[in-house]
């Protein structure tokens, strides 16, 4: 039962979020490339640095943080509403009376699924973001294909990819556990359910940004 529920959650969180993650990643990569191209024009900084900057900002910051902030809105609010609705309709009480450990059954599969699937989504977002940078800068003539490719290949640090996945795992844990907590402890009616859903997103976002800062400090010392 736990395995089946985990698989269902992986499908809901992962497959259900691919389109929005890809869309956002494309535009973030594209905007980053265009902005830096504008910043660097008429400067002594070589043009291929655009590819390098897009790659590193995407890997280190934009892919994990922006993706997880978006997922906190999409997945987090969904988790809070789903569990909160079950609380209000006495589904959780029914499970408790059957002897089910509801915290484990309802929350754990979501956390496990998110911790597995969200890093994969972040990986996809990273690749798509870099491709978005390419699409916005090369076909439009901001820089050449060779310059962008050279930039993407320059000064590569594998450690940044490690940082990206550490962030993705921590953010995935935060957004699922905070949202599940908000839903699990909801009281009252539909207004309170809406508030719980909103709080899930707000608290998740704040904690993700705080964790982002702490991870940046810890992993760059």
């Amino acid at each position: 039962m736990y395995w089946k529920e985990t698989m269902r959650q992986m499908n809901d969180i992962g497959v259900g979020s691919i389109i929005i993650v890809v869309l956002i990643a494309v535009f973030i990569g594209a905007v980053t490339a265009v902005q830096f191209a504008y910043q660097l024009q008429d400067s002594f900084v070589p043009a291929y640095y655009i590819g390098y900057i897009v790659r590193d900002t995407t890997i280190i910051e934009l892919a994990p943080t922006i993706t997880c902030l978006v997922l906190a809105g999409k997945v987090g609010s969904n988790i809070a509403a789903e569990i909160g609705g079950m609380r209000q309709k006495e589904h959780i009480d029914a499970m408790e009376i059957m002897g089910v450990n509801t915290a484990a059954y309802l929350v754990l599969p979501k956390i496990i699924a998110a911790v597995i699937v969200i890093p994969l989504l972040v990986g996809i977002a990273c690749f798509v973001g870099i491709m978005g940078g390419y699409l916005s800068s090369v076909p439009t003539g901001l820089i050449t294909d060779a310059e962008y490719t050279r930039g993407v290949r320059s000064f590569f640090e594998e450690y940044y990819v490690f940082m990206m996945f550490v962030k993705a795992i921590v953010f995935a844990y935060i957004l699922t556990s905070v949202s599940a907590y908000q839903g699990y402890h909801v009281k009252g009616g539909s207004i309170e359910l809406g508030q719980a859903s909103t709080q899930a997103v707000v608290y998740s976002d704040i904690l993700i940004l705080l964790a982002d800062y702490l991870i940046a400090i810890l992993l760059t010392q």
């Binding site: 039962m1 309709k89 006495e90 589904h91 009480d93 029914a94 408790e96 009376i97 059957m98 002897g99 089910v100 450990n101």
Partner: protein, 254 residues
């Protein structure tokens, strides 16, 4: 058998239950009745363990339920079935999956054994051929019957029903009452029903506890109801002038 000993329950400054002591007997339909706000639902939730009493003890046969740790409570709960007021069926699961849920969670039966058990329970509540339907696709009365089927699928020793007739027409209510009574007697289950449905009181009230403002003010069975001179009971059961006339007519005919 379930025994409540001197149960007190307060929420902030409000005393909801004030020293309730009562024995709910095996093989009988035990009713908790009373007006809205009398403390019925709180009492039922304390009996089933969803709420902790401020003080007092709940005994399940010889086991002091109030002193069990969470693991032991979960163990006992596998012997408990509960029918909720709103049925509490899982919307995303079909009726078959709803009834099979406890089997999937707690047994190692084969798929066929589980299906046989599900079909037996559906047959027992007179609902054949609805396995693949979803709760939203059946009527309120059918949802209640599915709720009963799910609550008996593990063969419970204790069955709790919270307002089993709420939202149902009188005829369907009688069907549900009869079903609960027959299942209780067949399996010698300790059934506790929380209700304010007068039909239920007069049809299946084998051991009735009347709560009034958080206190237990009367106990008896359905035969005792007519002859009781307890004013609170009479005011509650025969609330309308029509019912009072019926009672007077019944008494005058002996």
């Amino acid at each position: 058998m379930i025994r409540a000993e001197n149960i007190f329950k307060s929420f902030d400054d409000t005393d909801v239950l004030k020293g309730i002591s009562h024995t709910f007997e095996s093989g009988k339909t035990n009713l908790i009745i009373g007006r809205s706000g009398a403390g019925k639902t709180v009492m039922l939730k304390i009996l089933v363990g969803l709420l902790k009493p401020t003080s007092g003890t709940i005994w399940y046969d010889d086991v002091n339920y109030s002193e069990l740790n969470s693991k032991q409570v979960r163990q006992i709960r596998m012997e408990v079935g509960m029918l909720f007021q709103g049925s509490a069926l899982f919307d995303s699961l079909s009726i078959e999956e709803n009834i099979r849920f406890p089997l999937d969670m707690f047994t190692k039966k084969t798929k066929k054994e589980k299906l046989d058990r599900v079909n037996y329970c559906l047959d027992r509540v007179d609902l054949n051929g609805v396995n693949k339907k979803y709760p939203s696709e059946v009527s309120g009365g059918m949802q209640k019957r599915v709720g009963i089927a799910r609550s008996i699928v593990l063969g419970p020793k204790y069955l709790f029903c919270d307002e089993p007739n709420s939202g149902l027409d009188p005829k369907t209510s009688i069907v549900i009452d009869e079903l609960i009574r027959s299942i209780t007697q067949e399996n010698n289950i300790t059934t506790v029903i929380n209700t304010h449905d007068m039909n239920s009181v007069m049809e299946i009230g084998e051991n009735i506890a009347l709560l009034y403002q958080g206190e237990l003010v009367w106990t008896g069975n359905k035969d005792d109801v007519l002859n009781s001179d307890n004013e609170i009971l009479q005011g509650f059961i025969f609330a309308s002038p029509f019912l009072q006339r019926l009672r007077n007519a019944a008494l005058s005919k002996g």
